[in-house]
Symmetry: C2
Subunit: 188 residues, 2 copies
C-alpha cells in the first residue's frame, strides 16, 4: 500500500531537485521505506523513474491534453496552454518531463522510451489542434502544420525549462506565440 506514497515522494523529489540529482537511496530515506521494498515493487531504478513519469503524465500532463482535446476555440486553447505552462503554480519548479528529457541519456532505457513516447503524444495533440483549427478556418498562417506543431512544442518546452531555472517565461512565450495571432503582442 506504500506504492502511492513512494511514487509521490519520488515524483516531487525528481521534480524539484532534478531526476539525476536524486539517488534511489535518498528516495527510500525520504519515503521511509526500505530499499528492498522499492526493488520488489519497481524492479530497479529504471522501473521507479518510469512509474514516476507515468504518474506525472496522468496527474499533470493530462491537464494539457484535456485543454487541447476538449472544447474551446483555437485561440483559447493556445492561450490556456501557454498560461498553464508559464503561469500555473503547478509548474513552479518546471516540468518533470522536460527535466527528464534534459538528462535523457542518463536515464534507464524504459524511461527513455517513455520520454520519447510522451513527446510523440504531445506533438500529436498539437498537430490535432492545428489541423482542426486550419480546417475550421480559425487559423491560417501559411505555416505547415507539422512545423507549427514542432514550434508550439518547442516553445512550451522552453517556457517550462525557463520556469525550472527560476526565470519568468511569460513575456518570451507571449512573443513566441504571437506568430499564431498575426500581431507582435506587447507582453503581458
Amino acid at each position: 500500500m506504500k506504492r502511492a506514497d513512494v511514487l509521490d515522494v519520488a515524483m516531487h523529489a525528481y521534480w524539484e531537485e532534478g531526476p539525476d540529482a536524486v539517488s534511489l537511496n535518498a528516495i527510500c530515506q525520504k519515503a521511509e521505506v526500505s530499499k528492498p521494498s522499492v526493488y520488489r515493487e519497481f524492479g530497479n531504478e529504471d522501473g521507479l523513474t518510469c512509474a514516476v513519469l507515468e504518474t506525472y503524465t496522468e496527474v499533470v500532463l493530462a491537464k494539457m491534453q484535456a485543454v487541447l482535446d476538449g472544447p474551446g476555440s483555437f485561440a483559447w486553447k493556445i492561450d490556456e496552454v501557454a498560461r498553464l505552462a508559464a503561469e500555473d503554480a503547478l509548474h513552479t519548479h518546471g516540468c518533470l518531463w522536460v527535466k527528464m528529457r534534459a538528462v535523457k541519456p542518463q536515464l534507464g532505457e524504459r524511461t527513455q522510451g517513455l520520454v520519447d513516447l510522451i513527446q510523440e503524444a504531445t506533438l500529436a495533440a498539437f498537430t490535432r489542434v492545428l489541423t482542426e483549427a486550419q480546417a475550421s478556418g480559425e487559423w491560417q498562417g501559411g505555416i505547415a502544420v507539422p512545423l507549427a506543431a514542432q514550434y508550439l512544442h518547442a516553445q512550451i518546452g522552453l517556457a517550462l525549462d525557463m520556469r525550472g531555472r527560476g526565470e519568468d517565461p511569460r513575456d518570451v512565450l507571449a512573443m513566441a506565440l504571437s506568430v499564431f495571432r498575426g500581431n507582435t503582442a506587447s507582453g503581458r
Copy 2:
C-alpha cells in the same frame, strides 16, 4: 605543460557527454594524467569545470560575440548568429554553456557564478545590438529592447538545446526569429 591538454580533453568530454555525466576520474584517464596533477593545477572539480568553461568561452562563444560586436547590418547579425547556433558544425553536440546551465545546481559555486556571468555578458551583447539597430532605424518592432534581448537569448538557447538533443532547430529558430523581420518566413 599538460594544462592545455587536460582542458581540451575535459572540454570535449563535458561538451559531448554532458558535464554531469563525466567524472573527474574519467577525465584523468582520458587525458592520461594522474588525479593529483589535476588537483594541483585546478584545485578541485569546481576549478576544472570553471577553467573548462572559461576556455570554451574564449574559443567558442567569442565567435558569437565577434559577430554581434563586429560590423554588419542588424539583419545580417541576426541571421549569422542564428546560422552559427542552428547550423554550424561547431555546435553539432550543442553548446557547453547551455548544457552547464541545464545542470547548474549540480555544479560548483565558482562554475555557477561563471555560468551566470556568461549569461549576463550574452544578454548585454544582444542588448547592444538591438539598441544600435533601433537607433539606426534598422529595426523597430514596437518591442522593448530588454524583452527583445531576452527573447533572442532564449531562442538561441533553445536552438542550441535542440541541437544537443539531436534535433534540427533550423525551422523552429527561423520561425521564432521571424518576429524581427515582420513576416512569418517559410522555413529554411
